[in-house]
Each structure stands twice: as structure tokens, then as C-alpha cells.
Amino acid sequence: MSRNTKINLVLLLAVAALAVLPLVLGLGDHKEEPFTGADAEAETAITELKPDYEPWFSPLYEPPSGEIESALFSLQAALGAGVLAYYFGLRRGRRQGEQRALEREADRALTGAAGKSAAERD
């Protein structure tokens, strides 16, 4: 494994550790409902600060269940990940193609120098 790949792996592991540690250390245990969304907590805080506040608009479309909602969230992540993977795959392929073309040209130049006909080179 190259040094580069190793550094990238360490970065990924650090992110994974940061996500897993709060769960493992039970940092949500003091709450009735651990690991809810911060936006839901903010909604609760608003109703505490201003008990008579009524949201004056509701979402045009609301996912009918938690499952559908997480499906749509994964769709969002998958779309993004797909585009990113396409980008890096395309770049890698292009680089390899360019390198091969260069090598081929170098080969041709060699055989050309050895006295082959010009027609063969095209």
C-alpha cells in the first residue's frame, strides 16, 4: 500500500471513529430519546421559549414514514456519491489513457527510428 493510500485510509478511519465514539461512550444516555436530530431539539426549545408559537406553514410534501424519509436521504447521498465516483473514475481513466498514448508514441518513435515506413506509423 502506498503512503498516499495509507493517509487516505487514516482520514476515513478518523471520521468513522468520530461518528462511532458518541454511540459507544453512551453520550446520549442522559436523554429520554438519545440521538434525535438537533432540528427537532430546536423545535422543542422554541415551544419552551414561546409556548403559543404555532408553525404557520407545513411542508408541501412530507415523507409518510421514517422509512421513506431515510430512503430519500439515502437517495440524496447515493446521487452525490455516484457523481463523485464518476468524476474520479473518469479522471483516472483519462490519465491512464494519456499515459498509454504517450507510451505508444514513444514505441512508434523507436520503431520509426529503426527504419520502418511512414505509412505503418499511421
Partner: protein, 233 residues
């Protein structure tokens, strides 16, 4: 985590919308100019938008015992400057408001202001400052992404505290309350975002040297402009 639909009083919702609109309009102009003048950058623009899509879909647990998600706006701001990120961030927020009931249309202006305007500008400013003082590229990238993420949620806290001041302790009391919900939760996530942005930037340095040079992220080695352009293609 964005401000939920209907959770800002109408006057605030309109005010934040008015504040955000010029940034987004200016951003659309910068974006069309970038695409017209450098069609080859479309792919990388798409990748920057995709990064925001992935990161803002990742709800991660945090030390406070609640969950939030990163923003992914630092990368695009560093690559293409903040105005373009204003557009990419707005698209992401619209997707989440319309399909996921996450954030909302009435709070779109406020959420755009925090995630697509202040976050990218703050991150970009920190990145530029560090680069000017000769900090290594990846240190500046990490700090930029970290600040873009964290400042977004500080702005969200301010927005909510302005709309819902504490009856006893006023704006500051409410700011403490919302800050502990949003900003403190966000600190470890901002670290994660910084690390992931560094990872993607490392992959970009390996795969897209030409384009990074054209965008001024990597320094050109005394190349003439035409040469840099050629490499970019």
C-alpha cells in the same frame, strides 16, 4: 440541521429571504460565466455540488447525544469561490425542503443565508488567510472546511435567538440555548467535515492538477497562461 418549515415568524422569513436573494442571483451569474468561459470545469462543479449532497445527507451522532449533519460547502467555496457555492448550496437546500421535509420553503432564505452564504464566505476567508501566511495547503483546507461548517450553525443559532428571544434573559439567553443545541453538537461534525474535505482535496491533487492550478488552489510553476489552460484540458 436546518430551521424547520414554518418555524420562523413571517417577518423574519421574508427578511432572510431578501438578505439572501442578491447573493444567490450574483452566484448564478458567476456560475454561468464560469461554465461559459471554462466548460471543462463543469465536471468539477458537479463534483463539488455532489460533495455537498453527500455530506448534508449524512446525519451523524455527536457528543451532545443528538444528531446533526455536515454541510460540505467548504470544498466548493475553496475551489470555485463562495458566490458559486451559494448556488450549489441553495440547490441542496431546495432538494431537502421539497422532498425530505427537512428545512423548508418559508425558512429557505434563512437556511441559504447560513449554509450557502455565511458558511462558504467564512470558510473561504480562513482558507485564504492561512494560504497568504504560507500555511500548507491541507492545513488551510481543513481549517476552511471546519469554519464553513461550524459558522453555518452559529448563524442558525443567531437566527433562532433573534426570532425567539428568551422571556427572561433576552437574545443572549436564547442564543446560549440554541447555541448549545446546534453549535456544540456541530463541533465534532465540523472536524469530520474538515477531514473528509482534506481527503477529497488529496484525491483532487492526485487526479486534477491542471484544474487546481487554473483555479489557483495549486501554484503554477511560472507557466504562461496558455500553457496552464492547455494542462487544464
Amino acid at each position: 440541521m436546518h430551521i424547520a418549515e414554518g418555524f420562523l415568524p413571517p417577518a423574519h422569513a421574508v427578511a432572510w429571504g431578501v438578505a439572501s436573494a442578491p447573493f444567490v442571483v450574483h452566484g448564478v451569474r458567476s456560475l454561468t460565466r464560469e461554465v461559459r468561459e471554462h466548460p471543462e470545469s463543469t465536471l468539477l462543479l458537479g463534483a463539488s455540488g455532489a460533495f455537498t449532497f453527500v455530506l448534508s445527507a449524512l446525519k451523524l451522532p455527536s457528543v451532545t447525544g443528538s444528531c446533526s449533519h455536515p454541510t460540505g460547502t467548504g470544498l466548493g467555496a475553496i475551489l470555485f469561490r463562495p458566490p458559486i457555492m451559494a448556488v450549489l448550496g441553495t440547490i441542496t437546500l431546495l432538494f431537502q425542503a421539497l422532498l425530505l421535509a427537512h428545512g423548508g420553503l418559508t425558512t429557505l432564505g434563512a437556511n441559504v443565508f447560513s449554509m450557502a452564504i455565511v458558511g462558504p464566505w467564512a470558510g473561504y476567508a480562513v482558507y485564504k488567510l492561512l494560504r497568504r501566511s504560507n500555511a500548507p495547503l491541507m492545513v488551510a483546507v481543513f481549517a476552511g472546511a471546519f469554519v464553513a461548517d461550524l459558522s453555518t450553525y452559529c448563524v442558525t443559532s443567531v437566527q433562532l435567538a433573534l426570532a425567539f428571544p428568551d422571556p427572561g434573559s433576552g437574545f443572549l439567553g436564547a442564543l446560549g440555548k440554541f447555541g448549545s443545541i446546534f453549535a456544540v453538537t456541530q463541533i465534532p461534525l465540523a472536524v469530520s467535515e474538515g477531514l473528509l474535505t482534506v481527503l477529497v482535496m488529496r484525491l483532487l491533487v492526485q487526479s486534477s492538477k491542471g484544474e487546481l492550478t487554473r483555479l489557483g488552489v495549486l501554484l503554477a510553476k511560472k507557466q504562461s497562461r496558455t500553457e496552464t489552460e492547455a494542462v487544464a484540458r
